[in-house]
């Protein structure tokens, strides 16, 4: 019996020597990266910038006792031939082991994106430590500036940007989704655009003493890539069109002119939507029928017309589909004429329906796409009208 207990105890203590002791890494010895940026320098080197969380700023009560003296994150960078090379130089500056697993965003600088995004994404997909669901974005300007911005409401710019993407108002991409678009011949990649802006004057009472201009991060449209190189941008309006065509307009609102009272607007909040792309090909002519279905609730009305009548709701639905059609047509034209790139995935839809024809057409798909005709049909529904039936306070009849 005694011997048994002794053996059990021995095994118990021995187990402490086992698990993970080889690649042991204590949390206090790791530099936890929150955001990563990759730029191309003037002399053609890759500059890897990382935003490292400083643990003190995240611990409970750090703000009250320490008076916020320790900045929440440290942005540090190094240059090299490749990303791994730059990481090695970085390791000379960072006194802890660089730990990628928690990186929320990967920002590619504008110049780097023009040179090629593939050079960046490969490292992060191949190494096991960074996650495939990092948000990928292209900065207007330098990626390092994005990491250095100091936002409100979140401790670091990487976290703030992560929250921004999750709101799903713009077009957002995780790195694996980019890789899928990159690998597929039926769609050209598009990546979230991001930029730095000043908060402007008057950051709020009590903030006056450190009046250095604070920077904030803003999602700004979408970067259009040809194969993997940045060739242009879509602005916020065109991005909405892109979302409709890609069937990813799950959030947001449609602003339409009010029926019966021109010059006043009505806002309809999108509740759900989906998009179906039906290609048609008869050997010569190629065209696409895009059917967009959207459902929303009226949330705002500037006019004083009584819209709570079945025929007015019909009019609203018509106005809504016109508006969406206009948005999508604008984006589509830009993609077809200015860029000549299928950024919507029409090619994939074509492949699904015409697999034999696709084999021959996939190699010059973008030209085919630019020539293709597109019919956009929108089926819009207004379901709810909020808590008010008539605009409040309007005179009876």
């Amino acid at each position: 019996m005694r011997k048994k207990i002794a053996i059990l105890l021995l095994l118990f203590f021995l187990s402490g020597l086992l698990g993970g002791c080889w690649s042991r890494s204590e949390i206090g010895e790791e530099a936890i990266i929150l955001g990563t940026g990759v730029d191309l320098t003037e002399d053609g080197l890759i500059r890897l910038s990382v935003q490292i969380a400083s643990p003190g700023a995240f611990s409970a009560g750090g703000d009250t006792s320490g008076g916020g003296k320790e900045p929440p994150a440290w942005v540090v960078w190094a240059e090299g031939e490749t990303i791994e090379d730059a990481e090695r130089y970085l390791a000379m500056k960072v006194p802890r082991r660089i730990y990628w697993d928690h990186s929320i965003i990967l920002v590619i600088g504008e110049r780097m994106a023009k040179r090629g995004t593939e050079m960046v994404s490969n490292f992060f997909l191949r190494t096991g430590e960074p996650r495939e669901n990092m948000w990928l974005m292209v900065a207007r300007g330098e990626a390092r500036d994005i990491l250095q911005a100091q936002p409100m409401l979140a401790k670091t710019s990487a976290q703030a940007t992560g929250f921004l993407t999750r709101m799903k108002t713009g077009y957002i991409v995780q790195i694996w989704e980019y890789a899928e678009m990159r690998a597929s011949k039926g769609v050209q990649p598009v990546v979230t655009g991001v930029e730095v802006q000043d908060f402007g004057e008057g950051r709020g009472p009590g903030q006056g003493e450190n009046s250095t201009v604070q920077k904030k991060v803003e999602l700004s449209g979408v970067a259009v890539l040809k194969v993997d190189k940045l060739i242009g941008w879509l602005d916020a309006h065109e991005t909405r069109g892109l979302l409709w065509l890609k069937g990813e307009a799950k959030e947001g609102a449609v602003i339409v002119p009010s029926p019966g009272e021109p010059g006043k607007e009505v806002s309809i909040k999108i509740r759900r939507s989906h998009t179906k792309i039906v290609p048609e090909y008869d050997g010569e002519n190629l065209w696409f029928n895009v059917n967009i279905y959207v459902e929303g609730d009226m949330v705002e009305q500037q006019s004083r017309v009584d819209l709570a009548k079945p025929e007015q709701i019909k009019a609203l639905e018509t106005a809504m589909s016109e508006e969406i059609k206009a948005r999508t047509t604008a984006t589509l034209e830009k993609a077809q004429t200015e860029y000549g790139l299928d950024i919507f995935g029409f090619g994939n839809a074509f492949h699904r329906k015409y697999r034999k024809e696709w084999r021959e057409m996939q190699n010059h798909w973008d030209e085919e796409f630019s020539r293709a005709g597109v019919n956009i049909a929108v089926e819009a529904h207004v379901r709810g009208i909020g808590l008010l039936s008539m605009p409040a306070g309007s005179p009876e009849k």
């Binding site: 009548k309 079945p310 709701i313 379901r383 808590l387 008010l388 039936s389 306070g393 309007s394």
Partner: protein, 367 residues
């Protein structure tokens, strides 16, 4: 007998309250105020009187045929074919249509006021599924669930008292401002809704003391009228006639403005709790009478096999028969449901049946 349970008078009254009130207190005040303005409360009171007549009519008719439901004695009065037709009309156009309307209103309220991003079908299916369980277990279970839930209504009374500080009685003046006609017009909608107590005609045979039916009907009508008047007055006294008509759910908004010492506020959860629990019972009762009536019409031995198909019909009716959006739904209630239900099912057919029964001398003497 398809139903073996028996319920007592108190349970029956509670059940009739739950049949009328849950949807009535939320959706009706706006409509009445829109027509009758500050005299809306007079409309509701007039409606209560009208409902007393309807109640008397239906109960007198039912008591002539003890132990039989509306579907059964319609056949006895009108003969087999015509009786079955009347029975089917009741089932499809009244029980199922109004029942699915309740499902739709229930779901739309929750979507609009509380959870805008949830698909509306989630609520319709949930409420019907829960009701189906109660219906399968019979009338007694439905009544007992209702007894458990009804005390929540007491919270409504508390909320009403709390909201008195926001109220200004002057908003009711001048009385008779718009004249008699708008008040009469305003009576129609509450009469229709409270008139839903004609469902009692399906339940009287299962009372343990059927002779109490008159009392039950009258008490339920009075209670319903009282609570509905209170709700209308609440909205009216807080918002005044101009604004109250602009809300879709004025009672809901009225409760939201209550704030006592910055502490007792956000009481809308009371309304929501009442709505959710009451909605289940209301849907359950309509569901139950539709199932029971169908079984009697088809001469089945057991109504349970019908529970599932009728539930599916309820859900699909609620999605397809009440328009695409909330505006359509309100429009249908005021333009179709109100005159049609009231004239045909709540007054017309019962009156006709009573006259024919009297003429042909069918049925025992009413007590």
């Amino acid at each position: 007998m398809l139903e073996h349970g028996k319920i007592d008078g108190k349970q029956a009254i509670f059940l009739m309250l739950s049949v009328v009130l849950p949807t009535a207190i939320l959706t009706i005040p706006a409509g009445i105020v829109r027509t009758a303005r500050q005299d809306a409360w007079l409309s509701v009171m007039a409606a209560t009187l009208a409902v007393l007549l309807i109640a008397w009519l239906v109960v007198s008719l039912s008591l002539r045929f003890p132990g039989k439901t509306l579907c059964e004695y319609a056949e006895e009065i009108l003969g087999k074919t015509l009786g079955k037709i009347v029975c089917l009309l009741y089932i499809w156009l009244f029980f199922l249509y109004a029942g699915s309307g309740a499902v739709r209103q229930f779901s739309f309220f929750l979507v609009t006021a509380m959870m805008p991003e949830t698909p509306i079908e989630v609520f319709s299916i949930t409420v019907v599924a829960v009701a189906a369980y109660a219906v399968r277990n019979g009338l007694e279970v439905l009544c007992r669930f209702n007894q458990l839930f009804l005390p929540v209504t007491g919270l409504l009374a508390i909320v009403f008292f709390l909201s008195t500080i926001e109220m200004k009685p002057a908003r009711l003046l001048p009385v008779f401002d718009a004249g008699l006609l708008p008040i009469v017009k305003g009576t129609v909608m509450p009469t229709m809704l409270m008139g839903e107590i004609v469902l009692l005609a399906m339940i009287i045979p299962y009372l343990n003391k059927p002779e109490e039916a008159q009392r039950i009907a009258i008490l339920s009508a009075l209670f319903n009228g009282f609570v509905l008047t209170a709700s209308t007055l609440e909205a009216l006294l807080i918002f005044g006639p101009d604004l109250a008509a602009h809300w879709i759910f004025p009672t809901f908004n009225a409760v939201r403005v209550i704030s006592i010492a910055n502490f007792l506020e956000r009481l809308e959860s009371v309304i929501v709790a009442f709505w959710v629990l009451g909605g289940f019972v209301k849907v359950g009762v309509f569901y139950y009478v539709a199932v029971l009536g169908s079984a009697q019409c088809l001469n089945l031995k057991d109504y349970r096999p019908l529970v599932l198909p009728v539930g599916v019909i309820l859900v699909s009716f609620s999605s397809f028969m009440h328009g695409e959006n909330i505006v359509d739904m309100i429009y249908y209630i005021s333009q179709i449901q109100v005159p049609f239900m009231l004239i045909v099912f709540e007054v017309g057919i019962p009156l006709l049946l009573l006259i024919i029964a009297l003429v042909r001398g069918k049925g025992g003497q009413s007590s």
